[in-house]
Subunit: 323 residues, 2 copies
């Protein structure tokens, strides 16, 4: 058996943000071109203790591998001294079905490919000159999104909004240490008025980013609305946007901020563009300085597939790793 | 990481037929009692080279583990000197989501749990006195079914039907070596008339076992109709049966020999019993010597779940294995 097993540390050691953004960008292009098979996500839920198992899998047609990601969220694990994020990414040969590798990334690849998607959206949609980035939320994505955005736009100023003072202060401290100039705001509307690139990264279940607060020329990426009942963006904001982008029509028409705007009859399905279509044809993205653009990212298995393939290729060629 | 990896040989070394039958019997009981979560099977298909990936997963509620089985059939593999049956069974803790073990069984557990299901069906449905077993097909299941049936009924006489003389002769030779008295038949109707326990194990796409040939008191188990377009049993035979059993209503009403009888309007859904219901209440099974009984087995993930749990428990307690 030639199966390789890699730890989170090994995976982290070969991850390069710019390469991941490039891979995810190409993955979205292939996805929207119909070159990726992504069956519906599998799910198992447990009550006692509470746990969620998600099985995301798929393949780029004709590629060397296919990928099955098992993401287990067991929320009481920290009480046992274990990470709540468990699971494994399985990479198989698309030529023989043989299991090539197990990536025990403990959620790292999901975090990174999610941030990479935000960077791809910003690359095609954010204004050329970013005056400040507004971040709603203070968790992992609130940090990673910034670091990945820095790969595609130059900025130093960040406005951050969080509900817990301690988390906000920790965020300011951490991100200041990375060279950003970070300021917290009391109201989300203040952030919306001051930044022309806004990223929402919360598990909110009610819209908090309002149409009336958005300035012309702003791009907004919503990351948080990745399941039923989650909502971050006022539907009227999406209606007002000049360009409306989703990572996956299939997913975003079912749930996501975009789905609320559709259900409210404020926008038509035909007015929504997939991110991968913009990668193929940039003229579908931002075409003017004063446009408001909106990207709704729910996470697509192709991001896992291309990320795993990239990481494996790099791990395989890194002879300093002993496996 | 305490994840254990087991090979086919290690798994085989701890497999005891009677224990597996008992585990699968209890699994069916739990399944029909609603104590098992079995989401729809995931599927990925490839064309070049041809390959099928099936993801079967689920959990017995409140058990220690949950199981994800990835079965990869890559049909050109033998040309590369590889088994066409690839994949892995992943066993996770239901308490923490941690991956406990990988079973590289190369299809062994699927083969065994499929044969065990046949034995469970025969335990409750076959006549007490089996005069002879009739087997249609000469492959792995045509062999394993016999060996597992021997755990629940006493018999030595086997009639076999196969389309290829060479395979039939090999079957006769192999099974004779195991102490059975094996005779081939020219026509399936001959086998049906001579045996009162019949097992069909073929990938046929047209019914070959006819109502008119079945003798009173016979039990028939159909194993082959495990997907759309497959068929082994004449719908009229199922209509004539006094007891009609399926492993899973969900699956068998969708595809299976039973589904053809339903679509033809020959039987009502309400006349079909689940095998697990019979395990709970044997009076739902055979109640008379002269009854014709029919069991339609399509394979349910609970069989994999309980088999993997049994095997892991035995491997874990076997100190002669070094992992």
């Amino acid at each position: 058996m030639n199966m390789k097993t890699y730890s989170r540390e090994e995976i982290e050691s070969v991850l390069v943000k710019s390469e991941l953004i490039e891979a995810v960008e190409e993955g979205f292009r292939q996805y929207s071109a119909g070159d990726v098979v992504v069956p519906p996500v599998g799910h198992l839920g447990f009550d006692n203790p509470p746990g969620d198992v998600h099985i995301k899998y798929g393949a780029v047609k004709g590629a060397d591998t296919f990928t099955i990601k098992v993401s287990n969220g067991f929320y009481d694990n920290p009480q046992l001294g274990l990470s709540s994020s468990q699971g494994v990414i399985l990479v198989f040969s698309q030529k023989t079905g043989v299991l090539d590798a197990l990536l025990f990334d403990q959620g790292l690849i999901t975090d990174m490919r999610t941030a990479a998607a935000g960077a791809v959206a910003a690359k095609y949609l954010a204004p050329e000159h970013v005056t400040a980035v507004g971040v709603v939320g203070t968790g992992i994505q609130a940090r990673l999104q910034i670091e990945f955005l820095s790969e595609v736009r130059a900025f130093t100023k960040i406005y951050v909004y969080g509900r817990h003072l301690e988390a906000v202060n920790e965020y300011i401290s951490d991100m200041s240490a990375k060279g950003y100039e970070v300021e917290s705001v009391e109201k989300i509307s203040d952030l919306a008025k001051a930044a022309n690139l806004i990223v929402t990264t919360t598990p909110a279940r009610e819209a908090f980013l309002m149409a009336e607060d958005i300035q012309p020329g702003t791009h907004i990426t919503a990351m948080g609305s990745d399941g039923p009942d989650k909502q971050e963006i006022q539907p009227e904001l999406i209606c007002n946007a000049d360009v409306r982008v989703v990572d996956s029509r299939n997913q975003c028409f079912l749930y996501s901020d975009t789905s609320y705007a559709l259900k409210a009859g404020l926008i038509e399905e035909s007015s929504v563009v997939e991110l991968g279509e913009i990668v193929s044809n940039a003229s579908l993205g931002r075409t003017g300085d004063q446009q408001i653009t909106f990207a709704d990212l729910t996470g697509v298995a192709v991001q896992d597939i291309v990320s795993a393939e990239l990481i494996l290729a790099k791990l395989g060629s890194d002879s300093s790793l002993s496996n």
